[in-house]
């Protein structure tokens, strides 16, 4: 029995549905639904290419399918990690896959006070000091995340490398891209940075209280 006409019909129907999925993919406003529809399109086009022996299309979508799946996985993992971070230790380690490594030498200043802020840093090794306050930053600390959201967008202190080490850096532009592509990420990122800001305020309040307590007996004795 000749089944070639069935393959032709399947091919035509498949192409029709794939076209609908392509339109749907391109009409998505944000990245996660866009990737989901792209994956569905890839599967449909691979399935359509088999009976019609369209090997070029099949090869193309066999490459695109794992790529789309991997990017979707990355995006979902990012949202999951940021969400987890909000409800646990407020760490920003989830940003590490998006950061680039840079070696720093002793005496190098990563940024100066009042300079326009354009990126944030994660300390991997070495020793770093905030010059104006004299605070030593531990390995694993994130610096400069609030500059992205501050209205003035300037550094409040200078950061100096006091012992050579490695840092990871990411520009605000890159974070903004993640923010715009993914509303869920944006929402949790805002919650995370706000939580870190409140944490800073609490620390300052505690320090102020300690200073007041320390100053009170000396004032009395004077």
């Amino acid at each position: 029995m000749d089944t070639s006409h069935l393959a032709e019909h399947a091919g035509a129907a498949g192409s029709f549905f794939a076209s609908i999925f392509v339109v749907a993919t391109l009409s998505m406003r944000t990245m996660i639904p866009l990737r989901v529809f792209a994956i569905l399109t890839n599967i449909l086009l691979i399935a359509t290419a088999i009976p019609t022996h369209n090997y070029a299309t099949m090869a193309l979508h066999t490459v695109l399918l794992p790529l789309n799946t991997y990017r979707l996985h990355q995006m979902l993992q990012l949202v999951r990690d940021v969400k987890k971070s909000v409800s646990s230790d407020l760490s920003m380690e989830w940003l590490k896959p998006f950061m680039t490594e840079r070696k720093c030498t002793t005496g190098e200043v990563l940024f100066y006070k009042d300079e326009k802020a354009d990126g944030m840093f994660y300390i991997v090794s070495g020793q770093f000091r905030l010059v104006e306050s004299g605070i030593e930053l531990p390995v694993g600390a994130i610096v400069g995340e609030l500059g992205m959201l501050s209205p003035t967008n300037v550094r409040t202190q200078s950061l100096e490398c006091t012992e050579g080490g490695v840092i990871l850096s990411v520009s605000y532009d890159q974070v903004e891209q993640l923010y715009v592509q993914n509303p869920a990420f944006g929402f949790y990122f805002l919650r995370l940075t706000s939580a870190r800001l409140f944490q800073n305020i609490e620390t300052l309040e505690r320090r102020l209280e300690q200073q007041i307590v320390a100053a009170t007996p000396s004032a009395r004795s004077a």
Partner: protein, 287 residues
């Protein structure tokens, strides 16, 4: 239609060098006599790079408006020198100046032949293109090799070439040199701010150090190296409290007098060592 064109311009802004920022306005509460200098500098930096670059200049200047210890003369000097440093001379700038001089037309103006270093020429390109080239030149030891570049407005071909070189302005902000200059200006401003806090009487000398870094080619590199040596050897340790230098201005003047066109900086290093030894005294120098 206009909105589509606008979106396309935004999408391709980095490639076509489009800058939709508005021209910065003069900041409020400028000290006396500063307005003409700042105004001219805004025009210069807009022509040199873009309105965004001029805005960065204004933002940097705002740090010193109303700051204790900054009088009108000092503010004007900071404004003048910062504009000079933010419009540094690179091959693109030299082409721009030649075009301005000839009004963009074939003229009888004499050719400009400049001696530029290879790293200076390549450094004007965007970092992704320049970095591999600089890496290769470094390996074969050609980074400091000097080449003569002719900037001519005597023929149509010369004008075309100048226009092409000047058009690279749009990619200047992605260049290796641009980021190096940004770091330099920030360090200079940082030193001024620290001097205002620690030793305000010496601040003019720190501001004036910007005149050490001028031009292009070897004199520029020499000035830059000398500047870093003076700042690292005298100014920074004084601000950090590691060097008890009562008269930083005098020390900077003394060190600047020892600056020679010598890549090994022997005289300058010796002068700085002497100043440090005097400041630290016999005990400190021995330690």
């Amino acid at each position: 239609m206009a909105s589509i064109v606008s979106s396309l311009r935004y999408l391709l802004a980095d490639v076509i060098g489009d800058d939709d920022s508005t021209l910065p306005v003069l900041p409020d509460n400028l000290p006396d006599h500063a307005a003409p200098i700042v105004s001219d500098s805004i025009a210069l930096l807009t022509e040199y790079q873009s309105a965004t670059h001029a805005q960065l200049y204004v933002d940097r200047l705002k740090r010193f408006i109303g700051r204790p210890g900054v009088d009108s003369a000092l503010f004007c000097e900071i404004a003048r020198l910062m504009a000079m440093r933010m419009s540094y001379q690179d091959p693109i700038r030299i082409a721009q100046l030649k075009l301005i001089e000839s009004d963009g037309r074939v003229s009888g103006a004499a050719d400009d032949v400049r001696k530029l270093r290879l790293d200076e020429l390549i450094g004007a390109l965007p970092a992704p293109a320049a970095d591999p080239l600089l890496d290769v030149l470094g390996r074969i030891g050609w980074l400091r090799k000097r080449v003569s570049v002719r900037f001519s407005a005597k023929s149509r071909f010369g004008i075309r070439r100048l226009k092409l070189e000047a058009s690279l302005r749009r990619w200047r902000q992605f260049s290796v040199r641009f980021s190096e200059e940004r770091v330099w200006v920030e360090r200079w401003l940082h030193m001024i701010a620290r001097c205002l806090d620690k030793q305000p009487q010496s601040v003019l000398a720190v501001v004036e150090t910007a005149t050490m870094v001028e031009g292009h080619g070897d004199p520029y590199r020499q000035g830059l190296a000398d500047w870093h040596l003076i700042i690292d050897g005298l100014a920074k340790p004084t601000f950090d409290g590691k060097l008890p230098l009562a008269d930083l201005a005098g020390a900077i003047t003394e060190a600047r007098a020892a600056c020679m066109p010598d890549p090994r900086q022997v005289a300058l290093k010796r002068a700085i060592a002497q100043i440090r030894a005097r400041a630290l005294g016999p005990t400190g120098a021995a330690g």
